[in-house]
């Protein structure tokens, strides 16, 4: 089921990419290695072409998109690198992870521009450390697992919102999401240590071995029940039919008990 859903997700993403990439048509990248201010200027040009229609010419926000003044570099970096922006899912839908529409240099430019619009959280620096995994686990189970699931497989939040799976989130993106609270997610105001711990545990989940065999989703009894019936009971059913079949000619050596 996991493989199927991944395949489905890939197909959807490929489809989206085919549909959306020509429509957005980012301008060709410039060759000069620019400084912070130049970056912001470049970003402004890109912003005017690709973002302003929803977020407003100055990032002040419109009825189609929220204000970005004070969103900060972390928010822009998260939204652009996870492909959630540009938003292509249609009105009322939730922005989903997809391949980034811009290249690295363009993203840096846009991030610099959004950061220049007002004070907001900077792109955090995150260190993944094995020693922090237990602490991260405790925080994760208490504060992240209720929506994202104990193994970070994602979950339904209500009101149509889905907490996404965390299997592709990089440590920096995990920290960015925590300090900016994208979409329905609340802001978690952890310090550097706390960010490192949670990012370390998410990284552990992504690379952890699966003791006990195929993880079948890691979400507990729903897939387990299906496997019990579709693999276990079905197999035993076939065995029962084979064993219970009449192997002798009809009425062969049957005994009758009056």
């Amino acid at each position: 089921m996991r493989a199927l859903s991944i395949l489905a997700a890939v197909l959807v993403l490929v489809g989206l990419a085919i549909v959306t990439v020509p429509a957005i048509s980012p301008p060709p990248r410039t060759l000069a290695a620019p400084g912070e201010e130049q970056l912001a200027q470049q970003g402004a040009a890109l912003f005017a072409r690709s973002c302003a229609s929803c977020h407003g010419s100055e990032g002040q926000g419109t009825e189609f998109g929220p204000t970005l003044q004070g969103a900060g570099a972390a928010s822009a970096d998260f939204q652009l690198r996870t492909g959630r922006m540009p938003f292509t899912e249609g009105a009322g839908a939730q922005a989903k992870r997809k391949p980034a529409a811009f290249d690295d240099q363009q993203i840096e430019a846009l991030v610099a521009y959004v950061a220049s619009l007002g004070d907001g959280p900077q792109v955090p620096e995150v260190t993944v450390d094995q020693a922090l995994v237990p602490e991260g686990q405790r925080t994760f189970i208490g504060n992240c697992a209720p929506c994202h699931g104990a193994t970070g497989n994602g979950g339904a939040v209500g009101g149509g919102a889905l907490a996404p799976a965390l299997d592709q989130a990089t440590p920096v993106q995990v920290a960015e999401a925590m300090i900016t609270g994208p979409g329905q997610m609340p802001v978690f105001g952890y310090d550097q240590h706390g960010l490192n711990a949670v990012a370390s545990y998410v990284d552990y989940l992504q690379h952890a071995p699966h003791p006990g065999g195929f993880a079948i989703g890691g979400i507990g009894p729903v897939p387990e029940g299906f496997v019990a019936w579709v693999l276990g009971m079905a197999l035993l059913f076939v065995i029962v039919v084979l064993i219970g079949r009449r192997w002798t000619a009809k009425g062969g050596d049957e005994e009758h008990v009056p």
Partner: protein, 454 residues
């Protein structure tokens, strides 16, 4: 040696007739045996697990080999299951085989129950064994619920919280029942050791005793059989226990064990290390019970949250979907042989021959409808997981299921009713043949009908 035994116990005649017990030749009679052999695997693996499990909720520090929990405070029970999973030779595979065997055990019981229901095997004189069987099903569910809760992980703690809430929701007596079971207000330190006593002593004793009674009655009353040449209401036709059935059953037992070992060895089940230790202030999601309790959870999820007061007594929201409706469903199922005898067929004769499902279309259609209600309620327990898979809001999913749980069983009833009636007619008069029409070609190329002569 045998002679020595027989001289003292005088059991040769008894054993000889026992060995000649007749087993009718139909695969569906083996379904109950699958459940029996799952039980054998459950007892064997369960004994192994009992050697390492610690039924104690005292907080301790985990120092085992699973990195994310090192240094954390967990209950002694949870730690013992972690140690069993990571630091005891073959511990994890034993745990997994035990848990898979539990899931398949109840599945086999349900399939066996369906066989008995749809073939009318519960009719007179076998009502007693139907009651014993329902008792065994209840005990199996009790074993499942208590076993699921023993590891003291976050998921099972959530399950216990729901059970506590359902118990306390019973008007008037609820709080007393809940406190009696849990020894106080949830969460209690005593619940783990109480569950342990239930899971390894009380319920298994009743379950194994019940199985003995179930089989003894079967032995005494003899098997039923499907209608066939030489099969009458006064005989049993089949193969004798020795040698035919002994080999079949032994083979089946080994294959059941093999399938369960295969599942336990290859497929992960209940990764309690991922869920984390039970912390009263935390709830994890998605949280589901094992499949056989899903219909109760689904009932809670589908039923609108209504709470009302009658004569000054408040009826809390979980009572109707969590206690009343399931209780009603189980009561009807338990009493079905008597209900059918009294109100449906008015048939009080003795039966050794089974019904084919189409021999009693009403019973079959009703069974299909009830089964569909059960299936949809079970699916509803996974409404949040389904919402992710189908990528629709969980509220929409719930509303869709609320409609389906009424519509699908009705359609199922009507369709089954119709098909069973046609099968019954075919069975009696043979399949309907199209009327014969004779045609004559006219000289100008047209056709005209000749009056049929038959």
């Amino acid at each position: 040696m045998l002679r020595w035994l027989d001289e003292r116990l005088g059991i040769a005649d008894w054993a000889r007739s026992g060995l000649r017990k007749i087993f009718p030749d139909h695969w569906s009679f083996l379904l109950g045996e699958v459940a029996l052999f799952c039980l054998v695997v459950l007892v064997l693996t369960g004994v192994f697990l009992t050697l390492f499990y610690v039924p104690d909720a005292t907080p301790v520090t985990y120092e085992g080999s699973y990195l994310p929990l090192q240094g954390q405070e967990v209950s002694a029970a949870y730690r013992s299951v972690l140690d069993l999973s990571f630091d005891v030779q073959a511990g994890l595979v034993m745990r997994q085989v035990h848990h898979w065997a539990a899931l398949v055990f109840v599945a086999a019981i349900v399939v066996h129950l369906l066989r008995v229901f749809f073939t009318g095997a519960f009719r007179r004189p076998r009502e007693i064994n139907w009651l014993v069987g329902i008792g065994l099903l209840l005990l199996a569910l009790g074993m499942g619920i208590t076993g699921y809760s023993l590891p003291d992980d976050l998921l099972s703690g959530t399950g216990l919280r729901i059970i506590y809430s359902a118990a306390i929701s019973i008007p008037l007596v609820g709080p007393y029942i809940a406190f009696l079971l849990f020894g106080g207000e949830f969460p209690t330190a005593t619940i783990v050791s109480r569950l342990f006593v239930f899971h390894v002593m009380l319920l298994p004793a009743l379950l194994l005793g019940g199985v003995a009674v179930h089989l003894a009655i079967l032995w005494r009353q003899k098997h039923t059989q499907f209608p066939g040449p030489g099969h009458t209401e006064h005989n049993v036709v089949g193969k004798s226990f020795w040698p035919s059935q002994v080999f079949k059953s032994t083979g089946l037992m080994l294959l059941v064990a093999a399938v369960l070992a295969l599942m336990g060895g290859l497929v992960q089940i209940n990764p309690i290390w991922s869920y984390g230790p039970f912390i009263p202030t935390t709830v994890s999601a998605p949280a589901q019970p094992d499949w056989y309790v899903g219909w109760l959870d689904g009932s809670l999820r589908l039923f609108p949250p209504v709470e009302f007061t009658v004569l000054g007594i408040t009826v809390p929201a979980p009572f109707i979907p969590g206690v009343l409706l399931p209780g009603l469903a189980f009561t009807i199922m338990t009493l079905w042989p008597f209900i059918e005898q009294r109100f449906v067929t008015r048939d009080t004769r003795f039966h050794e021959l089974l019904d084919r499902p189409w021999d009693n279309p009403f019973r079959t259609a009703l069974g299909v409808a009830a089964l569909l209600v059960f299936v949809i309620a079970t699916l509803a327990a996974g409404n949040d997981v389904a919402a992710i898979i189908f990528n629709i809001p969980v509220e929409v999913m719930t509303d869709v299921l609320r409609i389906l749980i009424f519509v699908v069983p009705l359609i199922g009833f009507a369709l089954t009713w119709r098909v069973m009636h046609e099968l019954r007619r075919d069975d009696r008069v043979g399949p309907a043949r199209p009327p014969v029409v004779r045609l004559r070609r006219t000289p100008d190329g047209g056709f005209e009908e000749i009056e049929a002569s038959d």
